[in-house]
């Protein structure tokens, strides 16, 4: 980077908020995926105005800019693959307003999901998307990836909660989308276009979020099934009763085995385990729902059903599910966590297909996920130093994506495309749709400076 430009950037953010130290460049070079690339510098921004000025400079000088929240993305979205500037948004971390009366919160993008949760909790409210990374990931990152989580089947994902945004466009102009009204049909829905756009269309600097009252009562149960088909049927039958569980999670055989080998939970080694949680305003309401869930369990040849009688017991039942990612991540030197999503009725076909792929490529694939919205997380465990195994992993991923699309699904339910899935975009989107995405990108960002190299744009 030219000295002159460096100085211009320092003039905007101040000396202490500019860095090109090697150690920082290394931290900014990765996220939670396997992708790595160092930027030229990082800027810790604090105001919308600064971002606007930075983008004006970058746009004029054609310097790539990659927005960064907490860097917990799983597809390389925040990795500055073309170098340039990393725009570190973690200091824009103020909760601007919480209006319980209006059921909304206004936040800066660097606020960590859990901080908003903590602020809402005394009011009996919550922000439902609930990504498993909520303790660290930022709301800006959640918006940019359209993050989802355990509660998706009942509460939807981030996009269902974003009412409006303040955005800095790649040429530095600042604009607002949406409003504070609960519904609006005024013109095109630009808000939704920015949600899930992975920082490629604009930098989000303020977010108006809808919030929900938190039902205080929950009820939790777990059931195990010797046969995958039975578990698959359970999922669609539960959703069909009209009861929408606040969580409906599934763990496959390999995940259960791995957990057993690495913890002392002593789970039965069955084909599938289903964990259901219902919620409501009274214990009676949740119990009523849970009874229906259990009756579906009973109709489908369960090996065992456990209903938590205390909160303590509920935590116990959750333990297996919550430990899955961590346990699996430690088994081999490397892993990829996939995120395919299919219509609910196709869940058991997806699970079976994954087993077939694992056999075909002699790979260890452990699967768990959000069955209630058809979102599975096959975690492929492998030795990254073994080139031959790496090649098999890549082939398996390609098969997995084909499988998901054949089952009317999508490449990614919540993690995003980023670098990892970019080349599979044509599998899911027809050429006209891809063309439209690219034209939109060009219209917003003619010089391709904002988060370039992502999403097959």
């Amino acid at each position: 980077m030219k000295e002159k430009i460096k100085q211009m950037l320092i003039d905007v953010v101040g000396d202490k908020n500019f860095t090109d130290h090697q150690i920082d460049m290394i931290s900014y070079s990765y996220d939670a995926s396997e992708h790595r690339h160092r930027p030229i510098c990082g800027l810790r921004v604090e105001t919308t105005q600064q971002i606007s000025e930075i983008l004006k400079i970058a746009n004029k000088e054609r310097i790539p800019v990659t927005p960064r929240g907490a860097g917990t993305g799983l597809s390389g979205m925040a990795v500055p693959i073309k170098g340039g500037i990393v725009l570190d948004l973690s200091r824009m971390n103020k909760i601007v307003e919480i209006s319980i009366q209006d059921r909304l919160a206004i936040v800066q993008p660097g606020v960590v999901y859990a901080e908003l949760e903590n602020a809402l909790s005394p009011h009996g409210f919550f922000f439902p998307p609930d990504p498993a990374s909520g303790k660290v990931s930022t709301l800006g990152g959640n918006v940019a990836t359209n993050a989802g989580g355990l509660k998706g089947a009942k509460y939807g994902t981030t996009r269902d909660y974003v009412l409006g945004l303040q955005v800095v466009l790649p040429d530095g102009r600042v604009m607002r989308t949406g409003s504070k009204a609960m519904k609006s049909v005024s013109g095109f829905d630009l808000t939704r276009l920015f949600v899930g756009s992975e920082g490629t269309l604009g930098v989000v600097t303020e977010i108006i979020l809808k919030i929900n009252p938190r039902p205080p009562a929950t009820s939790t149960a777990l059931a195990t099934f010797d046969r995958l088909d039975d578990a698959g049927r359970v999922v669609s039958q539960i959703m069909f009763t009209g009861i929408i569980p606040s969580a409906l999670e599934i763990l496959g055989r390999h995940t259960i085995q791995a957990i057993n080998q690495n913890t002392d939970l002593n789970l039965p080694e069955v084909d599938a385990m289903i964990l259901a949680e219902t919620n409501g305003y009274t214990a009676e309401e949740t119990d009523f729902q849970m009874k229906k869930v259990i009756s579906v369990f009973q109709k489908n040849n369960p090996r065992e059903i456990k209903l938590a009688k205390t909160e303590e017991e509920a935590r116990g039942l959750w333990m297996a599910r919550k430990s899955a990612y961590g346990v699996l991540a430690r088994i081999k030197t490397h892993f990829v966590l996939e995120d395919v999503t299919v219509p609910m009725a196709n869940i058991s076909d997806l699970l079976k297909g994954i087993e077939t792929i694992a056999d075909k490529y002699h790979l260890q694939i452990a699967t768990f996920g959000h069955a209630g919205d058809g979102n599975l997380h096959p975690q492929i465990l492998y030795d990254g130093y073994d080139a031959e195994e790496v090649a098999r992993v890549e082939a398996a991923i390609s098969d997995l994506f084909h499988l998901a699309i054949d089952l009317d699904g999508t490449l990614t339910g919540e993690h995003g495309i980023g670098i990892s899935k970019a080349r599979y975009m044509p599998l899911e989107h027809d050429p006209v749709a891809l063309q439209m995405m690219r034209t939109l990108k060009k219209t917003f960002d003619p010089n391709q400076i904002l988060n370039p190299g992502k999403m097959a744009l």
Partner: protein, 459 residues
Amino acid sequence: MKAFSRKQIEVLSSFVESNRFSTGSSNRKLHLQDISPHRGMLPAGVVWPIRTEEVSKILAWTHQQNIPVTPWGAGTSTEGNPVPTRGGLVIDMTRMNSILKIHPQDLQVDVQPGVFRKELNRQVGINGLFFPPDPGADATIGGMIANNASGVQTVKYGATKDYVMRLVVVLPQGEVIHTGSKAHKSSSGYDLTRIFVGSEGTLGIVTEATLRLTGIPAHHLAATITFDDLESVSKAAALMIGSGLEPAALELLTPKLIGLMNREKDLGLPEIPSLFCEFHGISKTTLKEVEDLTKELCRDCGAVGFEFGVEEGHRRNLWRARHEAWETIHRAHPGKETIIVDAAVPISHYPEMVVFSQNLLGENNATGYVFGHAGDGNLHVVLVGDPGEKNEWSLLEEMNNSIVKQALKLGGTCTGEHGIGVGKRKFMKLEHGKSYELMRRIKDLLDPKGLMNPGKIFS
């Protein structure tokens, strides 16, 4: 564009069977106006496609010939949304009306755009499912998607946008695009589906959709609650939402409108500010708890009368009367036209908006009716007058402007559900500032010649 040449008629006739293209004047006149006073230009012809390929051929050709096209559903819009402002070709989607496949296990249905909402609900109802968005009129699914329609149940169930998973759209130059998927959620690429939903047919013609459905609730409880004054009734509505109650409907009605409804439908309702509400629940006991809490809240706000557990026949009559409010107003003022204000504000400002609007009517001695989907902060004021009477009509226009400006000042929007169409274009810049330009660019990108439903959304 007023008339087609012989050659053009020949080409158009070659795209569809002869009974699905018409240049007859009665057919053209049937596609000249929706329920608003906005009048278009008589189209040169009407075509009724039944296949995506037909729509694609038609649009590729109209684009090449520079012929304006306007998609048409049931024509029940309130802002001139389907009105052909520049004549040309109207594409009436009502014969493309198959329910292609119901997927009860996935809670989904594949439909063509000309299916009517009530018919869809009859069909999926057999499976214990329903499609919740419920505008008063029996609209087509295509028109609902294009307008992102909602209704009395939106406060609990959301608007049309919340139910559209996947679309097939023919773009203004005839290309066919597939957006979204049947997966319940996705983070794959830009959300193109949402750009088309609510775009009022200005970006393309929807020829197929996959919709999400939901289970018919096991139990419902309807109630009417009455108050002495407008401020109390709207405060009660705001408080019910703010306190986390989740009504399935929460409608505000004011005395004059109730009066008209009583006279027409013999409902016997007290003619004072009222809430019509409904709660959906999984069991009777939960509904009982909701009832107690609602009563307590409303009493604190000064409620004077409650009727909970409205009997089924009466409940149906109440909702029908509410759905037909606009028609009732029209029947009470034969020969008059209406401007329908559709502003929405954050719920805590709802009382202020209601009182503001009612006072405005009083101050100007104008004929108008205030009501609305209180639960989501959406306010309707139906202003009644005669567009021929210049002074009277411009006063109504002024009132419309002041209410919208007030709503925008309070962080709201000029339209909660009816769309921009022709009538609300004047508010676009005020509401959107710089993002208006961006919308314009998206429009130019997809429809460089400006032929697709021209004269809508953008001035």
